[in-house]
């Protein structure tokens, strides 16, 4: 970590005592670093180091276990799909919230945050009750031959649920700041409504949409509480990666659990990195 002190805090010339007009920098940075290191960095370093007790071959062995592979595939594949589908949904809700005034708008606004505020175990329980074969939505779906609960589809539904606030809340402020001027300019220049939306509004929202995608994905891929109730957790079919980690830990296979955890973290960061790269590429003026 390279948290160097600012120039003004380094011991300097003897001419002037270099001090900031606002006191408390050293104290606050010290508290922050201590807090960060003790609670986050040191424990996370265990995650980075422990898998290698198994050796590289051992780590690869853990990760190529068919059950682990199936779980990783389910977690990442479903999380990607859920985050992707959350994008249009988030955009739609954000649009409705920003552009229109209608009775019940505040309620709709508050509803968006609920998946974020609701404890995950409660969400899991609720979704299971709702989509169970005898549930409010499960029963009609069953009638048309769709089973959600205890299948990979249930995992997908739960992952969408937790992603909603991220998809909406990242786009909403950008859409609000955007205003309608650019669209109106497009209209005066002869653009149709669809052209204005596709060529003016959507490109302006693209970076925010990507951020929302990244956040919704990161949340969904690691999600545990909301998913395990509805997933059914059948090995090779509807068992998510975090659950495999829990099982390994319960069997005291710390290194194996850490290996799966590290792989998950690495893959998540890869996805976030990719969205970041796409964002940079989308930035005006960067395109050659």
């Amino acid at each position: 970590m390279s948290l160097a002190l600012p120039a003004s805090r380094r011991p300097g010339h003897s001419v002037a005592r270099r001090r900031d007009a606002l006191p408390g920098f050293g104290l606050s940075l010290g508290v922050t670093l201590a807090w960060l290191s003790l609670v986050v960095l040191v424990p996370l370093s265990a995650l980075a180091l422990r898998p290698w007790e198994l050796g590289v071959a051992g780590v690869l062995g853990v990760l190529s276990d068919p059950r682990v592979l199936a779980a990783l595939r389910l977690s990442f594949g479903t999380a990607l799909m859920a985050a992707l589908l959350n994008l249009p949904l988030g955009l739609l809700v954000a649009w409705v919230l920003v552009r229109w005034r209608f009775p019940g708008r505040r309620l709709l606004d508050a509803m968006v945050d609920l998946p974020f505020a609701l404890p995950t175990a409660v969400a899991g329980l609720a979704l299971t009750a709702l989509f169970a074969p005898n549930g409010w939505l499960g029963a009609p779906l069953k009638a048309i031959g769709v089973t959600v609960a205890y299948t990979p589809l249930g995992v997908f539904v739960a992952m969408m649920f937790v992603g909603v606030p991220f998809a909406v809340r990242t786009v909403e402020p950008v859409l609000r700041d955007l205003g309608t001027e650019a669209e109106e300019a497009a209209a005066t220049l002869g653009a149709s409504r669809a052209q204005a939306l596709l060529r003016v509004v959507l490109p302006a929202l693209a970076p925010a949409l990507l951020t929302g995608f990244g956040l919704a994905f990161a949340r969904a891929v690691g999600e545990y509480g909301s998913v395990i109730f509805i997933a059914g957790n059948r090995p090779m079919v509807s068992e998510i990666a975090p659950l495999v980690i829990v099982q390994r830990l319960e069997g005291f296979d710390y290194a194996g659990a850490a290996a799966i955890g590290l792989a998950m973290l690495g893959m998540s960061f890869l996805v976030l990195l990719l969205t970041g790269l796409v964002q940079a590429w989308l930035r005006p003026g960067r395109r050659a």
Binding site: M1, L3, A4, L5, P6, L22, P23, G24, F25, S28, L29, V31, T32, W35, L36, V39, V40, P43, A46, L47, L92, V93, W95, V96, R99, F102, L108, D109, A110, M111, D113, L114, A117, L118, P119, T120, A121, V122, L125, A126, A129, L130, F161, V164, T180, A187, R193, E223, Y224, F229, P242, I245, L249, Y254, A257, A258, G261, M264, L265, F269
Partner: protein, 278 residues
């Protein structure tokens, strides 16, 4: 926002989109919530009260409150310190620091719990030493607190940093030229300027601390009456097919989420009026 005709969508499109948005949110958000309360009340109030009177449930509620009572103040102090140094000073590595503060948000709850098992568990780095000295961290209160602090780590800092950055440091500098000490300036100028946002951050932090499941599940050991928090208690009841009781406890947690959301909305309106942009 007043929308001129050029940027106004046709009425049909508005109705269709609006209805779709309401439908989707209802399906995804309102219905699950309604399901919790319906399931909880299916067997009447008596069952609900019975579920709360159960000694294990009481222990779980008490433990949840205790964990939050430790984790929230710790993260509030840490969050204020972090926001102060990030928002008021320029230094190298600041972006990295902010990224690290936000890191716990992008880590799976299960991994958040696991890291403490890797350090303090029976086969953890410090496991043998802890055992020799008869100190229990994992499968005990300290582990629950640590995991909770980890997952709720960014809440306060995240709500404060953008607001304090926007407010800048001119008011604190003005206070200094008027003779205020650092502590006076913090207490009389900085804190009042962010108090509603701070409260909002603390509430969110608290809601997550009380509702956290994945991380505490890993470090708890699920000892009934001892290391089960409310969300874990819900899971146990559910797995034992005590559905009514499970939903009763879940309803309590859902109520907490609803109250938190209402309070947050109110706080945002207050702070918006006072010139705080939360």
């Amino acid at each position: 926002m007043t929308i001129g005709p050029a940027a106004r969508d046709p009425a049909v499109a508005r109705w269709a989109a609006g209805t779709l948005a309401v439908l989707l949110l209802t399906m995804f958000v309102a219905l699950p919530l309604a399901a919790v309360f319906t399931e909880a009340l299916r067997r009447g109030w008596g069952t609900v009260m019975e579920a709360y009177a159960d000694p294990d449930a009481k222990a779980a509620i008490w433990l949840t409150l205790l964990v939050a009572a430790i984790a929230v103040p710790v993260n509030t102090l840490g969050g204020i310190a972090a926001a102060w140094c990030v928002a008021k000073y320029e230094f190298r590595g600041k972006r990295l620091l902010v990224a690290l503060i936000e890191l716990p948000f992008s880590v799976s709850p299960v991994i958040s719990g696991m890291v403490f098992v890797l350090v303090f568990g029976a086969q953890g780095w410090l496991g043998p030493w802890l055992q020799a000295h008869d100190v229990q961290i994992v499968f005990a209160l300290p582990g629950l607190v640590l995991a909770t602090v980890f997952v709720t780590f960014p809440f306060v800092a995240r709500t404060l940093i953008p607001l304090m950055q926007e407010q800048g440091r001119a008011e604190e500098e003005a206070a200094a030229t008027l003779g205020a000490s650092g502590w006076q300036s913090f207490r009389l100028v900085t804190l009042p300027n962010v108090k509603w946002a701070l409260l909002s951050g603390v509430l969110l932090c608290n809601a997550r601390a009380m509702g956290e499941f994945g991380a505490v599940s890993v470090v708890s050991g699920h000892i009934r009456g001892e290391t089960n928090t409310m969300p874990l208690h819900v899971e146990i009841l559910y797995n034992e097919y005590q559905f009514a009781a499970a939903f009763a406890v879940a309803a309590l947690l859902a109520l907490l989420a609803l109250v938190t959301l209402c309070a947050k909305t109110v706080l945002e309106r207050i702070s918006g009026r006072r010139g705080e942009i939360a």
